[in-house]
């Protein structure tokens, strides 16, 4: 699971993929996703994954990208199994090549989907995401909440660690006893955590006040996103390719093997 989360965390770089506008990257990810949704053919999905691999290579994140997919293996296996059992029940037959193929394709599609979004998150900073939200006319308060969540998640994790350390040093053993006593054992951890979160949010609110948060209805931004030549180039490559894929799907019937 942690490998999966790691694959969704920004990895700094200066490649062309990193420098693309996050909105463009989002559009391309969605197009790739749409392509895999249109087709349930292993060949096409493979093609999508190859394209993704090339993008990951250009962004120099192949290792992390592959690890994300690897980290998602249990999830992928689960999708395969569920699809397969569903097939068995619906078709009423215990074993069929077609059922196996369908289940495999569904799981394989998930790989392509995860891979697309992994690249997006690996190459997009949370700030860029925030800026993208602003550009998409999301009210600032939501962007601020999003940025704060990312800003303070590690701080809270650290806080939790120090509470655990302190209470364990007072003899607290969280993994001892039955489920009920165990739940009760969490009180010495949860109460201080709650108190600390409350106090922190109070202090944050105070600092926000001092930093004139909400002073003006329309705030300005030091940095905003602007589509550049490279962004238009990327779009003008991606959109025709997708249109072609869609055209083939609608116009050309493909037989299942």
């Amino acid at each position: 699971m942690s490998a999966l989360l790691q694959g969704l965390q920004f990895h700094p770089g200066k490649t062309i993929i990193h420098r693309l506008d996050p909105r463009v990257k989002l559009v391309i990810s969605i197009l790739l996703l749409a392509t895999t949704l249109m087709y349930l053919e292993v060949t096409v999905i493979t093609l999508v994954i190859v394209v993704e691999a090339l993008i990951a290579y250009a962004a120099r994140v192949v290792g992390r990208w592959a690890r994300t997919v690897y980290g998602a293996a249990p999830l992928i296996a689960l999708v395969f199994l569920m699809n397969y059992t569903a097939n068995v029940f619906m078709m009423g037959e215990a074993f069929s090549v077609e059922g196996l193929y369908r289940a495999f394709a569904a799981a394989y599609r998930l790989v392509a989907l995860l891979a697309a979004f992994s690249i997006f998150f690996l190459t997009t900073t949370p700030e860029e995401l925030g800026m993208a939200l602003t550009k998409l006319k999301v009210p600032y308060i939501y962007t601020f909440a999003f940025i704060s969540a990312i800003r303070f998640a590690p701080v809270l994790a650290q806080e939790l660690q120090s509470i655990l350390d302190a209470q364990r040093s007072r003899g607290l053993e969280l993994d001892k006893g039955g489920p009920l006593t165990r739940a009760r054992r969490y009180i010495p951890v949860l109460v201080p955590l709650l108190v600390s979160v409350l106090r922190r949010s109070y202090e944050l609110a105070e600092a926000m006040e001092v930093k004139c948060f909400g002073a003006k209805k329309e705030r300005t931004y030091l940095k905003t996103l602007r589509l550049g030549r490279r962004d238009y180039a990327a779009l003008s490559l991606a959109i025709p390719l997708f249109t072609l894929a869609a055209y083939i799907r609608v116009m050309v019937p493909i037989e299942l093997p």
Binding site: S162, D165, R170
Partner: protein, 265 residues
């Protein structure tokens, strides 16, 4: 010993030390020097990546944190943020229950600890209603209640005013006369100068100095290499060579006397 965090940061590197019974030891160094990491090894919260930590004959890798904590009581820097009980009494009782003491031992020990830290009158008050200084005292009482032989204080003076610091020195000395071993981490050099413990100086995860306060705190170049500022008395006496006064750790009274004598002559 050595400690490497999961993210690959080597926080302790080739650390070897021995602390005897009844010592008062201050681990000094700037933030990030490895002080807290070292302290967390003393009750097994962290285990060495390489090497061994032995507490009272026991390898910390072979004991639980709870077992070790009965011998080693750690008061963390922000221990006053760890309260959760309805009353000062219950807060103090918590650890004793975890350690499985009997009821009458619990009530005796809690009473002793609260009286020792001058909190007896607050016993039924909520810990959250105490003042900053009282909370600090409760954090200490909570640990003293089970009478660990080794008491560890992580940055005990952060955010404390002068009177609270003086009180802290008194408590440390008192505990020491009762035979307790006291180990603390601090970058508050004036506080340590007043306490005069054995000092272990750390920098970048290594021990770079170990000795009496009188020797370590007068070693200006060593302190500077650890990004610490010598006590003002040492800075002052180190500049009085022209009067025949050597750099030393002494009380303002003694230094004043010495200077006055030279001026009179």
């Amino acid at each position: 010993m050595e400690h490497v965090y999961p993210n690959g940061v080597k926080a302790l590197d080739g650390v070897s030390l021995r602390i005897g019974e009844g010592e008062v030891v201050a681990v000094m160094g700037e933030n990030g020097a490895g002080k807290t990491t070292l302290l967390k090894h003393l009750n097994g919260l962290l285990k060495p990546t390489r090497g061994r930590v032995i507490v009272d004959g026991k390898d910390t890798r072979e004991a639980t944190v709870a077992e070790l904590s009965r011998k080693v009581g750690i008061v963390f820097q922000n221990a006053e943020d760890m309260f959760f009980s309805g009353s000062v009494w219950e807060e103090t009782e918590f650890a004793l229950r975890n350690f499985g003491f009997s009821e009458d031992v619990i009530s005796k020990r809690v009473e002793w600890a609260l009286r020792f830290m001058e909190l007896w009158d607050y016993r039924s008050k909520s810990p959250f209603m105490l003042s900053g200084g009282e909370k600090k005292r409760l954090a200490l009482a909570v640990i003293l209640a089970w009478s660990p032989e080794i008491i560890v204080l992580d940055e005990p003076t952060i955010g404390q005013d002068q009177l609270q610091k003086e009180k802290m020195i008194e408590v440390i000395r008192l505990l020491n006369t009762q035979g307790k071993t006291v180990i603390l981490s601090s970058h508050d050099i004036e506080f340590v100068a007043e306490l005069r413990p054995r000092i272990i100086l750390m920098s970048g995860g290594r021990i770079v100095g170990d000795g009496r306060a009188e020797d370590i705190l007068t070693n200006m170049s060593l302190l500077e290499s650890c990004r610490l500022i010598p006590p003002q008395i040492v800075q002052l006496t180190s500049r009085l060579g022209f009067m025949g006064i050597r750099a030393k750790l002494a009380s303002p009274e003694d230094v004043a006397k010495e200077i006055a004598e030279r001026i009179r002559v």
